[in-house]
Structures are given as C-alpha cells and as structure tokens.
Amino acid sequence: MNDDSHVADASNGAKRAELLRKAENVTRGVGDIKTLAVAFERWHEDLILMTAQSRGLSLIGEDLSQIARHMIMVSINAAIEAARAGEIARGFVVVAAEVKTQAQSVQALAGSMRKTVDKGELLTAATFQDIQAGGKMMMAAISGLEAMVQQLHSELAENTDP
C-alpha cells in the first residue's frame, strides 16, 4: 500500500467518523422530539377540563331555562289571581305581566346560551380529537424516522469499525 492509498483511507475513515457523529446527533434529536408525547398529554388533560367546563355551562343553561319556565307559570297564576281580585289588584296585573316578560327574556337568553355552549362543545371536542389523533400520527411518524436513523447509524458504525 502506497502513501496515497494511506491518505485516501485516512480521509474516508475521517468522513465516516464524521457521518457517524452526525447520525448520533440526529438519533438524539429524534429522541428529544419524542418527548412531544408529554406535551400531547398536557393538551389532552387541558382539553378534558375544557370539555367538562363546557358541560357545566350547558347544565347551568338548562337550570336557567327551567327557572324561567317556572317563573312564567308563576306570573300566569299571579295574573289569574289578580284578575279574580278585581280592581283592587289592577296594579298587580301589570307587575305579573312584567315578570312574565322578563321570564320570557331569560328563557330566550338561556336557549341562546345553550346553543352557544352546544356549538362550543362540538368545536372543542372535534379539535380535541383532531389534536389527539394528530399526536398519535406524529408519534408514529417520528418512531418510523427514529427506526430509519437507527438503521443508518448501525450501518455507518459497522463500516467505521476497524
């Protein structure tokens, strides 16, 4: 073996060692990216809280609607009783009518609130599921990449060993 081939071997060896070092860096980088799973779990937990919050609001809306329905019934009964009492309760008829109007407004507001909550619940759940599935999708892609990098690393290590 002449001096030129010694120089060429040394140069190739240095390049392989450099490639091996880079492959090790990529392997470490891919390993670091896999800790994304921790962030996915955090988002998962946050979204579960948001969904529970949304359900809580929905229940409050239903309670509000029920109270408004009850108030409307009470105001109707009050109006009937006031009418029976005659002239002396004329002012109370006006009050009962106003209570009924306000209760109807509350009922409409509760209905509107429930719709907003239902819409929010769907959008939250759909986003939550997309993120959850997306997380699995990314972890699978990263695992595939990790396997490829490890394979490359092994091949380089085999070729670098003396």
Binding site: T51, R55, S58, R114, K115, D118, K119, E121, L122, L123, A125, A126, F128, Q129, D130, Q132, A133, G134, G135, K136, M137, M138, A140, A141
Partner: protein, 181 residues
C-alpha cells in the same frame, strides 16, 4: 376538494366497517339507508358518540347515535355486564371507527384515530361550523329492529381522492382490531 367518486368510495368503506363491526352475529341482517338533510330528527336520545380519524390532509368525524330502548339493550348487552349501554356501544363504535381507519390507512400514510367522546346530541346542528366538505347521514337497521344513526363528516385541507375499499365485507368480518381507550 373531494370528488363524487371519492365520497361514494368513502361511503362504501364506512358501510363495510358498519357491517363488520356493528353486527353481533354473522347472519344478522343490516340495512343502511341514506338520510336526506333536513329530514326530521327521530332520535330523542340526549347523547351522541364522536370519533375522529385524522391525517395530514383531512379529518373525518364519525358520529353515532343509538336509541336506548329494550331492543337495543337486548342486542348489544347479551352478556351479563355491569357496563351501561353507552359504554358497551362506545367499544363497538370504536371497533367500527378502527376498521374504517385501517381501510383508509391503505391509502393515506400516517393516519390515526382519536378515542370516542360523548356529546350532547344538540351539537349535531352545528356540524356545518366545522366547515365540512361533505356530510352524509345514514339510518342503520339491524334485524329489522335495532336502529341507530351514523354520520360521516369529512373536512379536508387539500383535495383528496379516496379509492374503493379493499376486499369484501366478509374479509373484514370479525377481524376488527381492538382499539383500547
């Protein structure tokens, strides 16, 4: 973003998944009929089950609604169990979603499915807010008695083509991979 042929193929894949997973016995009959949009809602149940299958270019939301009555309970809760009907059905629906996801994974790489989520059934009226490319509702009748509703809601961020499902209905029967959640 999704052609009529692709919608048809997606529908076929979904029907295949339904027949392979929502039926308890091989010889159970199953009729699947499209429900026109705007048709009156006959489901009084307060809840629906939502599953999302996501890829880099689309998300497919699958929604199931069952009627909680003695017929449905007798069909899905034959074995002594302490579980509620919605829990039992969530597992069945999860298998169905898994089957559809697997079918689509032959065509789309890096596909994944969420865990099922139970929502208020009133949420159905806001599906359009997800800006879907395509929504299809189906009424499923098993053994002329058990009734449920299944909905596909496809949202795409890029044009996609869905090929016809692989194999036959029989090929997938009983092979549904258990999706843990």
């Amino acid at each position: 973003m999704i052609s009529a042929r692709s919608m048809q193929n997606l529908e076929s894949a979904f029907h295949k998944a339904i027949k392979a997973n929502l039926l308890r016995e091989d010889d159970d009959s199953c009729e699947i009929a499209s429900i026109e949009s705007g048709s009156p809602d006959q489901y009084s149940e307060r809840q629906l089950l939502l599953i999302t299958i996501s890829s880099f270019v689309f998300r497919l939301i699958v929604i199931f609604r069952i009627i909680d009555n003695p017929v449905t309970r007798a069909y899905y809760m034959r074995v002594n169990t302490t579980q509620q009907l919605d829990e039992v059905f969530a597992e069945v629906a999860n298998m169905c979603g898994g089957s559809l996801s697997r079918e689509l994974s032959y065509q789309f790489s890096h596909l994944a499915m969420s865990t099922p989520c139970v929502l208020n059934s009133q949420c159905m009226e806001f599906l359009d807010d997800l800006r879907p490319e395509y929504v299809a509702r189906y009424g499923v009748t098993i053994n002329d008695s058990v009734q449920l509703q299944a909905t596909l809601c496809m949202c795409c961020s890029r044009p996609i083509e869905v090929a016809a499902p692989t194999g036959t209905d029989e090929a997938d029967t009983g092979a549904g991979e258990l999706e843990f959640f």
